[in-house]
Amino acid sequence: MDVNEAFTTYVAQRRLQLFRTACLLCGDPHQAEDIVQDALARLYAAWPRASRADNIDGYARRVIVNSHLNQVRRPWRRERVAATVGESPAAVHLLTEDLQVMWAAIRSLPLGQRKVVVLRHYLGLSVEETAADLGISVGTVKSQTSDALASLRRVLAAELGTPVREGENK
């Protein structure tokens, strides 16, 4: 399988998840598309090395996170008004009020907490894998996860009037 074929096969399988990850990270579907395009161009350029690595998904994930950081750090990049539900064609499926509240709560998280929550709880990485991906300590991952979940609980409880408790649903 040549580089183009291997790359396009991988992209066909993973692009949607990468796009959704970028949406959760940046809070804006349009910017997310920019991030994914940029990340996949980088991934293509590094494909010979990435495809030899044990974990292409991990490589792609790190490129997405780094591409997002690159965009955030660009001083000339104008801040977009974050898409509101119903305004963006990418968000038309958030039909219920509680999902809209959840989306707003995710976007209100500080960037560090948002990254940790997305990697831990959307992508399902372990604490150690998240720490390695983000280049932070295991302790920081734990504390940021705890703070992020507490913040989400507070927002949802306030907006929906439903208390949210730590732990599993029984």
Partner: protein, 297 residues
Amino acid sequence: MSMHDSDLIERLHAVAEGFEMPPTPPADDAWRGRRRVRRNRGLVAAAAAASVVVAIGVTAAVTGQDRGGFDGPTAAERTEEEPSFTKEELREVGGEQLGLSSDGTKLLVRRSVKLERPCSLLDGCEMFVVNADGSEHQVAEGDGLFDGTLAPDGSAVAIGGYYGFRDGGLYIVDADGGSPQLLRPPAVDAIEDPAFSPDGTQIAYFDGRGDSSHSLRIINADGTGLRIIPTSAGLMSGHIRGLAWSPDGQQLIFETDVSPDGEVLQHGTGIWIVGVDGSDLTRCQESDPCFRWLGAQ
């Protein structure tokens, strides 16, 4: 009833699954990747060339030699140089191509939100600035997205809109994206055929009803200094098919489907040229240099 963290995580997944990705063929990502590889190779080559230039400069300084006469780009200029589109690459870019920056590194395109059909005026359209390195930025989206023009230096896009693209009007937006800013609301219904002047300081455009009641206007790119250019009421009573500047920025050329007395032309269209002050309105013949200006822009 209360929720638990596991409910939160379920909702996180539900939110993520609400995002539907714009349809993008994987081949497009591979194409952008190839552009990235080519650009990286260019940068490496430029860095190597810069090293040689620095080495020669240091050697000359040490040996006291004067290398006067070298007037090429500096090392910094070389490393910052962006790749430009080749003809083959331009053919590969999907969508309707509306303009290319003067250095050939940025291209303005319009596409339908629903990729299976062409962009129509009253249906969802998007405009993108595509960079020669393969990256691209959406600069506008909506219905009634009539026309766009890219500044010669590739820094900004002017957009002419009809109701549906906000309330219509002439807008300007950074080529890297952002929120389009209203430069001028429509005097009648719609803004058509905006065109940046060759120096990028002014925008010419038509204001009208789409098929009638047009007026030719020029406005500064910062939204000041609006001027209505006197032409011919008859020529303004039909469809406008295009607008461009002369290379020296002193004349405008436009194409209509009516005669000066307002009669619809039975065969083809008429191409007219007028000074930016409204002087010397004349028909441009196929053998005249002005005939090529519309196509050039």
